[in-house]
Symmetry: C2
């Protein structure tokens, strides 16, 4: 039976994973929830509650085994799959994502870029060649792409999603500010950069 | 007395706001939680629960007043402030944010750009001139900037945060993947683009 983990907990897991990876690199073998909390600016109670969701790891009064906990969280998030990404739409946002350093630290890699603009097809971004969108099906299969990232204008988003699904991607990460429809077998995450900004506005208005 | 609203609810409010704005533009006066849910892919129960957090709006069997609900949510989020943003670091990500259309639909506007790279100082992105970072204090005061957006490399992030705070911004939105420290009077939201991607990985691993 699968446990249901809340979205808020899932959203904190990559922070835990990255911090534990750093701690491992520092040579730490054991870390307490107090120390994790101090480093992440999250209360130790919250951390213990999150980690208790998927089993007993910590030893009371001692702490968590850094390596074991990092691997466990990585496995829950599926990071051991080392998912390969294709970005469709190499404008400002697509270019920013192709250069975003944080993906590699979680095991993701950008393996293909696509665009319809002849001026940039054939150029390279962060060492990755921009391919014609018409080559999507062939290249996604050849490069074993798992995740399609949509950074095209709103009008093109559904069409690109359809092409990505037809090409066999296993998941879609959509940055176009519109609702797109994909088969239920293909998980979809919609990203909206203004949500964090709205949260900031909310907190500024509470002062 | 202020009500405490959960982060998950706060994160959904901009979606409600934007959908209600569209509905208003369509000329709709009343909208049901069923219709809101259908448009947003959120259950009507969730919507009714979220909206009940800050008072009674809906009329049973009729629906919500589109205009009234939109204004109320905008006020809770502080969007009526029409916050003005300055982006520090006009690389790929800063350039993407300067061009991001979704901000305007929530009342935010990008009013200033800063960089230390002489090659881009003086150029324009989306019609906004890139200024030298050394001019931050003067220009932030002159342009009445409310929010500082940090899109510089990790090593420079804390220094830029200090400059923004000294220049008088009221909030900071940080994209640099590092922990920065600001006075408690200045709300800070840290953005990590790989959190959504990790959530996608999690869902793909549950298949």
């Amino acid at each position: 039976m699968k446990k249901i983990i809340s979205q808020a907990t899932i959203d904190r897991l990559p922070l835990y994973f990255r911090m534990l990876r750093l701690a491992e690199e520092e040579g730490l073998q054991i870390i307490s929830s107090d120390e994790l909390g101090r480093r992440l600016d999250i209360t130790p109670e919250q951390i213990r509650k999150d980690l208790a969701t998927f089993g007993q790891f910590g030893r009371k009064g001692i702490g968590y085994d850094v390596h074991e906990l990092k691997d466990k969280i990585g496995n829950i998030l599926g990071l051991q799959n080392n998912w390969r990404l294709a970005i469709v739409g190499v404008g400002h946002l697509g270019g920013a994502l192709a250069n975003y350093v944080n993906f590699a630290s979680l095991g993701f890699s950008v393996a293909a870029l696509f665009d319809i603009n002849k001026k940039i097809i054939g150029s390279e971004v962060n060492g990755i060649k921009v391919n014609a969108a018409s080559q999507m099906k062939r290249i996604i299969a050849a490069k074993k792409i798992d995740i399609g990232v949509i950074t095209v204008p709103v009008e093109e988003a559904q069409g690109v999603a359809d092409q990505l699904v037809a090409a066999g991607v296993k998941g879609i990460w959509n940055f176009a500010p519109t609702k797109i429809t994909v088969p239920p077998s293909v998980p979809l995450v919609n990203e909206d950069l203004s949500i964090g900004l709205s949260a900031l506005s909310y907190h500024m208005s509470q002062e």
